[in-house]
């Protein structure tokens, strides 16, 4: 029996993950052509590589269909209720850094903090007759953050891409999105609230707490974590 390791199936996240494991003596690679989603593991026995969309890895971990998985902390916390009970963070991998932030138009010179956002939202609702709209795909994280900080009179509108453009397009008044350098926000005339950091995320190796393990798999898992220097 083998331990299943879920890794993002494409792009920089996959390459950096392969590099991280490679530097620790575990060589991961894709089998055959670039189009084939099967993987090869060398340097350790009993480990199977499963290539998946990064967004599906939290769900697969929670269901126990993979034992280990690499994905962003943002995705795990957004998608898994009670995430601490379902997965364990084994290691931050030191790449894929991204901050989930609340941003408003840079022209809102009167809004610098969540306190300002709350007051602006109340005034906005009185003028426009509806709640101030914040575009995001991170509904749970943003809602929990704003409730925790006592912001009212807003609503979340779903945006699965090009979120920074929603304000200009007048489908939202503010955004909550992932940024690494802030360049895209600035280019779209947006600024981050000074206390608007919802979450700092990075690519992280998670262990599924609920995945069934046989004695053989437990040994393989122990050998892998030792090789990776995680114990």
């Amino acid at each position: 029996m083998t331990i299943k390791l879920g890794v993002p199936s494409k792009g920089r996240l996959m390459e950096k993950t392969f590099d991280w494991f490679g530097a620790r003596g575990v060589s991961l690679s894709r089998a055959g052509s670039d189009r084939e989603y099967a993987g090869v593991v060398e340097g350790i026995g009993g480990v199977e590589l499963v290539l998946l969309s990064a967004g599906e890895i939290p769900r697969e971990l929670a269901a126990g269909r993979i034992h280990l998985g690499v994905t962003g902390t943002d995705l795990v916390r957004e998608k898994l209720g009670g995430w601490e009970q379902k997965v364990e963070e084994l290691a931050g991998l030191g790449f894929g850094h991204a901050d989930l932030v609340i941003a408003v138009p840079a022209a809102w010179v009167d809004v610098d903090t969540l306190d300002d956002l709350d007051a602006a939202a109340a005034a906005f609702r009185a003028v426009h007759g509806f709640r101030l709209r914040i575009a995001t795909k991170y509904h749970r994280l943003v809602r929990d953050f704003l409730r925790e900080h006592g912001v009212a009179d807003y609503q979340l509108v779903d945006s699965q891409g090009a979120t920074e453009g929603t304000v200009k397009n007048e489908t939202a008044e503010a955004v909550a999105d992932i940024t690494s350098t802030g360049d895209t926000l600035r280019a779209n005339h947006l600024k981050v609230l000074s206390d608007g950091l919802v979450l700092q995320s990075q690519a992280t190796l998670f262990r599924a707490r609920g995945a069934a393990v046989t004695a053989g798999e437990r040994a393989a898992l122990a050998a892998l974590t030792e090789k990776l220097g995680l114990d």
Binding site: G81, G82, P105, A106, A107, W108, V109, D110, D112, T113, D115, D116, D118, A119, A120, A122, A123, F124, V127, H128, R131, L132, H139, R140, R143, D144, L146, R147, H149, G150, V151, A152, D153, Y154, Q155, L156, V167, K168, E170, A172, E173, H189, K191, S194
Partner: protein
């Protein structure tokens, strides 16, 4: 019998008690239009209720409680005075605690009667207490109206009072606002720079989105007015703190609040309303000497209650939610009534919890 079947039977038993007391049994749709609930409760309701949709009617919610549809039904067809009862499942989304039920029965009793508010408050509390008879529960009561009266009495600007009223149900933000309005917190640097700027818009990015430059300028004006207004006096902040810390048996809480009202006469009518309620409760046989009153009770997750609030708890089972809750929601009827408002008070019991605690089945 399956748990659901016994819960349904217990619900029917409780509803019969309310029907015997003179309430008219009513039914409400399980699917409710989402926009009404979203408009009332804001984004938080999405974390608590199941939202679904179709292409024809748009977003719908599985009812998170009966209060809103019962109020709507009454405002559309009812005549005063009226008493209603209902029993049926409600649905609550659970994202953090798998042990909490996402579907359970609620049995309610709602009174729309403006003739004697204290008597109506006491009627709902006493009737629910009697229906729970036999279960070892602790009752807690409060009154949001007293805190609202105290905020209204503050010697400060209308803007500040409105901001505090808006956040009565968010204690943390309420506290931060009090501290800022009382001058206890330093002005944030960005705010100070904005207020000192000759032209706050100098060199700023293009205005994008629906919020206009005029709206931004209006808020800057408000901030200037606020900066010029004197801080809320320390003695008034101390009175708010004194009110919020009242937590004792009802007769002592009343005396304590009457003492505070000497220094803050504007809360006296709300305090006397508590006195009238206490008398009405006694007249109904409630042992008020052993009934807890907490002035800050009901400030979290009971947003539509704006006067008397209460809950019944299993003291031996702190892991369980309250077995029954209720309160007065006059403001909700105003928001749903398109100009009309009706004094309203009600409460609900969760028969499933009552059974779990070993009540009758």
């Amino acid at each position: 019998m399956t748990p659901l079947a016994s819960e349904t039977r217990e619900a029917a038993r409780l509803r019969e008690i309310f029907t015997q007391a003179g309430a008219v049994p009513v039914e409400c749709a399980i699917l409710q239009p989402a926009d009404t609930l979203l408009d009332l409760y804001g984004e938080d309701i999405r974390a608590r209720a199941y939202v679904t949709s179709d292409a024809l009617r748009g977003e719908q919610m599985l009812r998170p409680d009966f209060t809103v549809p019962v109020v709507q039904m009454h405002m559309a067809h009812g005549a005063e005075p009226a008493r209603y009862t209902y029993a049926g499942p409600v649905f609550r989304r659970q994202e953090d605690d798998a042990a909490r039920a996402s579907e359970y029965m609620q049995v309610g009793y709602e009174v729309f009667d403006g003739a004697n508010l204290a008597a109506a408050d006491a009627e709902v509390f006493a009737l629910i207490g009697e229906a729970l008879n036999g279960a070892a529960l602790r009752a807690a009561t409060g009154d949001i109206g007293i805190l609202k009266a105290a905020v209204g009495a503050l010697n400060t600007t209308a803007q500040r009072k409105a901001a505090l009223m808006r956040h009565i149900w968010r204690p943390r933000r309420f506290r931060a606002l009090i501290d800022r309005f009382a001058g206890r917190l330093p002005v944030p640097p960005a705010r100070a720079a904005l207020l000192a700027a000759a032209d706050p818009f100098a060199g700023c990015a293009p205005v994008i989105g629906l919020r206009t430059r005029r709206e931004i300028a209006a808020r800057i004006n408000t901030l200037h007015e606020d900066a010029a207004a004197p801080p809320i006096p320390e003695n008034e902040v101390a009175l708010i703190d004194a009110i919020l810390s009242v937590r004792e048996a009802m007769p002592y809480a009343l005396e304590h609040l009457r003492d505070i009202a000497v220094d803050m006469p504007a809360i006296a009518p709300a305090v006397e309303q508590l006195a009238a309620r206490m008398a009405a409760l006694e007249a109904r046989g409630v042992d008020v000497e052993r009934l807890d009153f907490e002035a800050s009770y009901g400030r979290t997750n009971m947003e539509y209650y704006d006067g008397f609030v209460f809950g019944f708890y299993a003291e031996a089972r702190p892991d369980l939610p309250p077995v029954a809750t209720g309160g007065r929601y006059d403001a909700l009827t105003r928001m749903l009534g398109q100009g009309d408002a009706i004094p309203a008070v009600g409460g609900v019991i969760r028969p499933g919890l009552l059974l779990e605690l070993g009540g009758r089945a």
